[in-house]
Amino acid sequence: MSKALAVKLRLKQPSVIPGFGLTLGYTLTYLSLIVLLPLAVLLIRASEAGLSGILAAATEPRVAAALWVSFGISLLAALVASLFGLLVAWVLTRYDFPGRDLVGAMVDLPIALPTAVAGIALAALYAPNGWIGGPLERLGITVTYTPLGIFVALVFIGLPFTVRTVEPLIAEIDRDQEEVSATLGASRVKTLWSVMLPPLLPAMLTGFALAFARAVGEYGSVIFIAGNLPYVSEIAPLLIVIKLSEFDYTGAIVIATIMLAISFLALLAINLVQAWSRRRFGDV
């Protein structure tokens, strides 16, 4: 009994492989200095403002509008990125076509391309005289300097996350299950919908949450195309920068804290979804 307890309380399972103390010590020190300490300072500064101070700053109309723009459009963009992400991942893993590898490699572009470069490229592309903006303008649709521009940039940013999270699961789909479903008389559509889609759902949710978390914080690729009109197309990260340039540190800290809280909630949601799907479907 006490022995079993001792085993449970043991912080680390003994191992003959050397270097645990050194590497973990270094990891924890570096992590604390680079990540944890600065974040702690942010939270302490936010708590100095007090709950009433945070509420007051968050409900300031321009701040509330920016948060609304950021979160609302991020949700929509993550949703669209998830749907197209599923399509792209499906096509890339299940179908063979010329240039597939090239297309597959392109999916990571939004991760590799610096956000400022993506920002000016999207702005030029969707400008009223741009390659895509021109034709759209003639249809009466304006993208740049509107929330639609923010949406386009955030879909761009979110795409790799939604594709790459479902891709390995689609690749792992057991062909036997499809064949069983077919031998049981299910149509292809029925098989897709009721046999193959459900196991992909947790991964899609994870991809959605990742894309959303990234979109909420995105700055570089949005500000050039958004036009940044207060109350219309001004995103929360930009407002932080504006507050800082006005030396309104408290305002900047409050917005940052709210965004941090939302990111953590998204992270928590990802972990819960993964824990749930592990319980339900075994290891993912």
Binding site: L11, K12, Q13, V16, I17, P18, G19, F20, L22, L24, Y26, T27, Y30, L31, I34, V35, L37, P38, L39, V41, L42, L87, W90, V91, L92, D101, V103, A105, M106, L109, P110, A112, L113, P114, T115, A116, V117, I120, A121, L122, A124, L125, F156, L159, R164, A182, S187, A213, G217, Y219, G220, P237, I240, L244, Y249, A256, L260, S263, A266, N271
Partner: protein, 298 residues
């Protein structure tokens, strides 16, 4: 709908000589529509933005393109970016290897919390990353007064840019190595131990060769992001022209001055870096697919 397409498939496939469709795929027409949709979507959202960078950069010809790099400010920005990456990437490389070793080779409590904390910078807005360092090192920051009194400049100077860059690129190498090393297990290291090798020798002669391609890829990603980071650096650098402007910040200034050709010319440098990174990744995956662990993106 499926019934219609299935019945239509018969004759069309007979023409192609097969006469039988596998039950584990969709009708040919559905497949091609899906492929077309996916490619069209990717073309609009990925290929065109990339193309437009180079098209705009060369709009006034090669001469104008080159002129953008002759400017002293542009050269200062390039030099600063190279310096920042040269400091930040090796530091994160060492951290990534140490963290992956501790996490992948040992069982200890709090491991999943540690992994979550390492991932943290990925889910924090770059602007917030810049802000937290401003709160430490800025004039109104925690250590601001002390630093000022001792004449040490961190915010609005190179050290500030470096730490902010380290923060945003913090997880890249570790993220790449942890799943890879977990997959490889500890048998190779144990075998080397029974053969009498020391810890450092094992790392150098057994572990490192096993992870080198994953490590290289992590470093490439880390480097691409370090050179391209915009939001965090924008907040901490203070935008001092010729002094604290990195390449992305220089692009922003040129763009806001309506100097589009120069802005896109300088941006094409970073786009080229992104392409090289993607090409290297594809090459590594194609050549050494088995040595890159499957992973979710950053």
């Amino acid at each position: 709908m499926s019934d219609v397409s299935v019945s239509r498939v018969g004759p069309s496939l007979r023409r192609s000589g097969s006469g039988w469709r596998s039950v584990t795929t969709e009708p040919r027409a559905v497949r091609w529509i899906a492929i077309a949709c996916a490619i069209a979507f990717l073309a609009v959202f990925l290929v065109l933005p990339l193309t437009v960078v180079f098209a705009e950069a060369f709009r006034r010809g090669v001469g104008a393109y080159w002129a953008a790099f002759q400017e002293p400010d542009a050269q200062a920005a390039i030099q600063l970016t190279l310096t920042v990456a040269a400091i930040a990437v090796p530091l994160n490389l060492i951290f990534g290897v140490a963290a992956a070793w501790a996490i992948a080779k040992f069982e200890f409590r709090g491991k999943s919390l540690l992994i979550t904390l390492i991932d943290l910078p990925f889910s924090i807005s770059p602007v917030v990353s810049g802000l937290v360092y401003l709160l430490l090192f800025g004039a109104q920051g925690l250590w601001g007064t002390w630093l000022m009194e001792h004449g040490i400049k961190i915010a609005f100077a190179l050290p500030g840019i470096v730490v902010a860059t380290i923060f945003v690129t913090f997880p890249f190498v570790a993220r790449e190595l942890i799943p890879l090393m977990q997959e490889q297990g500890t048998a190779d290291e144990e075998a080397a131990l029974t053969l009498g090798a020391s810890g450092f020798r094992i790392f150098r002669t057994v572990t490192l060769p096993n992870i080198k391609w994953g490590l290289l890829y992590g470093v490439l990603l880390c480097n691409a992001r370090a050179m391209g980071e915009f939001g965090a650096v924008s907040v901490i650098s203070g935008h001092i022209r010729g002094l604290t402007n990195t390449i992305p910040l220089h692009v922003e200034i040129l763009y806001n001055e309506y100097n589009f050709v120069a802005a896109f010319a300088v941006a094409s440098l970073l786009a080229g870096l992104a392409l090289v990174t993607l090409a290297a990744k594809t090459l590594l995956e194609w050549r050494y697919g088995h040595v890159l662990a499957s992973r979710t993106p950053h």
